[in-house]
C-alpha cells in the first residue's frame, strides 16, 4: 500500500524543466548592475563629474577602461553612476505602480460586484488616455525635474495597466476549487487573498513586473532624449547616449558603451521575465 503511494508520488507529472544557465547569467548580470548602482560611492571609481582636460575623447585604455568623453570624464564610472538613475526610475516607478495597482486588482477580482464594475470602468478609461503623452506633458511643465518626480509620474501612469494585468490573473484563479474550498472552510478574506490567491498570481505578476521595469528604463532613456529626464551633468544611460550624438564621429565609444549597458540590462530583464512566464506555464495575458 505504502509502496503504491510512493510510486504515485514518483510518477507525478514531470518535474519542471530547469531554468537554464542563460537565465542565471541574466540574473547575475542584473544583480551585478544593482550592486554597482548601490555601492557606486564605495567602489574604487573615478569621479564621474571630474573633467580631465588632458585626456579628452581617449579610447579604451588601462587607465580609463571605457575611455573618456568629450570633456574628459571617465565613461566607465559615468555608466556605473548612470545606472543609479535608470535602475531607480525602473524599480521605483514599478513599486508605485504595483503598490497601488496590484492590491486594487486583486481585491476587485476577488470581491466582484459593484466595487469591481466601477473601479474597472474607471481604470479602463484611464488606460485609454495615452500614458506616454500624459507623462511627457506633466514632466514638461513640472519643473525643476528630479528623479523622484519622474518616478512618481511614471509610477502613477502605470497603475491602470498593472491593475488590468493583476485583475485578469486573479480572475482566472479566484474561481478555482481550492479557493472555494477555503471559503467553505470559513477562511477570512485576508487569508484567502494572501495565502491562496497571491502565491498563484505571483509568477505572472513577477514576470510582468520585470518586463515593466525594462519598459520604464527604456522610457527614461526616451525622456532623456527629449530633455525631460534628470538634468545634466548628472549621468543617466539615456543622458549619456543623448550627449554622445554630437560627437558620434570623433568618439563612437561614447555612444557604444552606454548603449550596450542599457541594451544588455533590458535584454536580461526581458529574458528573465519571459523565461519565468514559460517556466510557470502561464499563457500570455492578452494586453
Amino acid at each position: 500500500m505504502l509502496e503504491l503511494e510512493e510510486m504515485a508520488l514518483v510518477e507525478r507529472p514531470e518535474k519542471k524543466k530547469p531554468l537554464g544557465p542563460l537565465f542565471w547569467l541574466c540574473v547575475g548580470w542584473i544583480a551585478l548592475n544593482i550592486f554597482g548602482a548601490i555601492f557606486a560611492n564605495v567602489l574604487p571609481l573615478q569621479n564621474p563629474l571630474y573633467q580631465n582636460y588632458s585626456a579628452i575623447n581617449v579610447g579604451p585604455s588601462l587607465h580609463h577602461i571605457f575611455g573618456t568623453d568629450d570633456i574628459g570624464r571617465d565613461i566607465f564610472s559615468r555608466i556605473v553612476y548612470g545606472s543609479r538613475v535608470s535602475i531607480a526610475v525602473g524599480f521605483g516607478s514599478m513599486v508605485i505602480g504595483f503598490g497601488i495597482g496590484a492590491p486594487l486588482g486583486m481585491l476587485a477580482a476577488y470581491r466582484r460586484g459593484r466595487f469591481d464594475t466601477i473601479l474597472t470602468t474607471f481604470m479602463y478609461i484611464l488606460l485609454a488616455f495615452p500614458a506616454i503623452i500624459a507623462t511627457i506633458a506633466v514632466l514638461s511643465f513640472w519643473t525643476p525635474r528630479s528623479v523622484f518626480k519622474i518616478i512618481l509620474v511614471i509610477g502613477l501612469a502605470s497603475v491602470p495597466l498593472v491593475y488590468r494585468v493583476i485583475r485578469t490573473a486573479t480572475l482566472s484563479v479566484a474561481t478555482k476549487d481550492y479557493v472555494i474550498a477555503a471559503k467553505v472552510q470559513g477562511a477570512k478574506d485576508r487569508r484567502i487573498l494572501m495565502k491562496e490567491l497571491l502565491p498563484n498570481i505571483a509568477p505572472i505578476g513577477i514576470s510582468f513586473l520585470l518586463i515593466g521595469i525594462a519598459t520604464v528604463i527604456a522610457l527614461e532613456g526616451t525622456l532623456a532624449f527629449l530633455g525631460l529626464s534628470v538634468t545634466t551633468p548628472t549621468p543617466s544611460w539615456g543622458n549619456m547616449i543623448n550627449e554622445s550624438r554630437t560627437v558620434l564621429q570623433q568618439n563612437p565609444w561614447l555612444a557604444i558603451f552606454p548603449s550596450l549597458a542599457l541594451c544588455l540590462f533590458l535584454l536580461s530583464l526581458n529574458f528573465i521575465g519571459d523565461r519565468l512566464r514559460s517556466h510557470f506555464d502561464v499563457t500570455e495575458v492578452k494586453l
Binding site: 478609461i125 485609454a128 488616455f129 495615452p130 506616454i132 503623452i133 500624459a134 511627457i136 506633458a137 506633466v138 514638461s140 511643465f141 513640472w142 519643473t143 525594462a214 527604456a218 522610457l219 532613456g221 526616451t222 532624449f225 527629449l226 530633455g227 525631460l228 539615456g238 547616449i241 543623448n242 550624438r245 558620434l248 564621429q249 563612437p252 555612444a255 548603449s259 542599457l262 541594451c263 533590458l266 535584454l267 526581458n270 529574458f271 519571459d274 500570455e284 492578452k286 494586453l287
Partner: protein, 316 residues
C-alpha cells in the same frame, strides 16, 4: 453587433470627454503662474494682472473649461502666444507627416512580420524558428533611440544616402523620391519596434491554431501549405495581432517623437518638444489633446476590425 457598436461609441464619447478635461486641467493644476510663463520672468505685477484678466483666468474654473471646450468644438484651439499662429494651423501642417511615417512603418512591419511568423510556426522550435525568435527577442530590448542612432551612423554617414540625415526633411509636395528618402529612417525605426511585437504575437497564435482539427482536415484534403496558412490559419490567428497593432500604434507615438526630434522632421512630436522648450503651453495642450484623441480613435478602429474578423467577441 449594432448594440455593441453603440455601446462602444458611448464609451468613446465618455473617454474623449475625460481626455478633454485631463488636457485642460493638466495646464491649470500645475504649480507656477501661467502669466509669468507667457510674459517672462521679469514681468511687472500690473501686466501680469492685465493678462490674467485678458485670458479669463479670473473666472471660475468650470466656466473656463466650457469656454475652452466650446471653442474647440468650433475648431479653435487658440492662438499661440509665442508664434502668433493658430494652434490648429500648426497641427494641420504637422499631422500629415506623422500619418505618413505611421503608415509606411506599419506596412513595412506587417510585410516582414507575417511571412516570418508563418515560417516560424510551420516548425516550432526548429532552426529557423529559434533564429527568428532569438533575433526578435534581442530587438525587443533595443530602444528606438538606439536604433535611429545606428541607422544614422550607417545609412546617412557611412553610405551617404541623401536626405536621410538630421535636418534633411523633404516635403511631400516637393519631390516624392526625396520625401521617401527622408521618411525611410523614421519609418524603419518604428517598423523595427512594431514587427518584433507582431511576430511574437502572430507566431504563438499560429502555432495554437495549426493544432486545431480544421487544419488537420485541410491537410488531409491535400491542400497546399501556403493555402492552409493564408486561407485557413491566418484569420483565426489574427485577433491578438490586431489587438497588439491597436495598442502598439498608440505606443509608437513616443518612439516617433524621439525619431522626429533627432532627425528634425517637423511632425507632431518635433513640434511638441519645440513647444515644451519655448513654454508654448497652448500648443502643448492642443497637441496633447489631438494625439490622445487620435490614440483612442485608433484603438476604437482596431476593436471594430477585430469584431469583423471574429464576430463572437461582440456577442459576449
Amino acid at each position: 453587433m449594432l448594440r455593441y457598436v453603440i455601446r462602444r461609441i458611448l464609451m468613446l464619447i465618455g473617454i474623449v470627454f475625460i481626455i478633454s478635461v485631463g488636457s485642460f486641467f493638466l495646464i491649470h493644476l500645475l504649480p507656477g503662474n501661467i502669466t509669468a510663463v507667457i510674459e517672462g520672468p521679469g514681468a511687472s505685477p500690473e501686466n501680469q494682472a492685465k493678462l490674467f484678466k485678458l485670458l479669463g483666468l479670473n473666472r471660475p474654473i468650470y466656466e473656463q473649461y466650457f469656454v475652452w471646450i466650446g471653442n474647440i468644438l468650433h475648431g479653435n484651439l487658440g492662438t499661440s502666444f509665442i508664434s502668433q499662429t493658430p494652434v490648429v494651423t500648426t497641427i494641420g501642417n504637422a499631422l500629415p507627416i506623422d500619418l505618413e511615417i505611421m503608415f509606411l512603418s506599419q506596412i513595412l512591419a506587417f510585410a516582414v512580420a507575417i511571412p516570418m511568423a508563418m515560417r516560424s510556426a510551420r516548425k516550432p522550435d526548429g532552426v529557423i524558428d529559434r533564429f527568428f525568435s532569438a533575433g526578435s527577442f534581442t530587438m525587443l530590448s533595443v530602444p528606438s533611440f538606439i536604433v535611429i542612432i545606428l541607422l544614422v551612423l550607417f545609412v546617412s554617414i557611412k553610405l551617404g544616402i541623401p536626405h536621410t540625415g538630421p535636418s534633411s526633411y523633404v516635403s511631400l509636395r516637393g519631390d516624392w523620391i526625396g520625401n521617401l528618402e527622408s521618411m525611410a529612417l523614421p519609418a524603419i525605426t518604428l517598423a523595427v519596434g512594431s514587427f518584433v511585437v507582431y511576430f511574437r504575437v502572430l507566431r504563438s497564435d499560429l502555432i495554437a491554431t495549426l493544432q486545431e482539427e480544421f487544419i488537420t482536415m485541410a491537410r488531409s484534403k491535400g491542400l497546399s501549405q501556403r493555402r492552409i496558412m493564408w486561407r485557413h490559419a491566418f484569420r483565426p490567428s489574427s485577433v491578438a495581432l490586431l489587438g497588439a497593432a491597436g495598442v502598439n500604434i498608440g505606443g509608437l507615438l513616443a518612439g516617433g517623437f524621439v525619431v522626429q526630434y533627432l532627425l528634425n522632421i517637423p511632425g507632431l512630436g518635433y513640434t511638441l518638444i519645440a513647444a515644451i522648450n519655448t513654454d508654448d503651453y497652448l500648443l502643448v495642450q492642443g497637441i496633447v489633446l489631438v494625439v490622445s484623441v487620435g490614440v483612442v480613435l485608433i484603438n476604437f478602429f482596431f476593436d471594430f476590425i477585430i469584431n469583423i474578423v471574429d464576430p463572437r467577441i461582440s456577442r459576449e
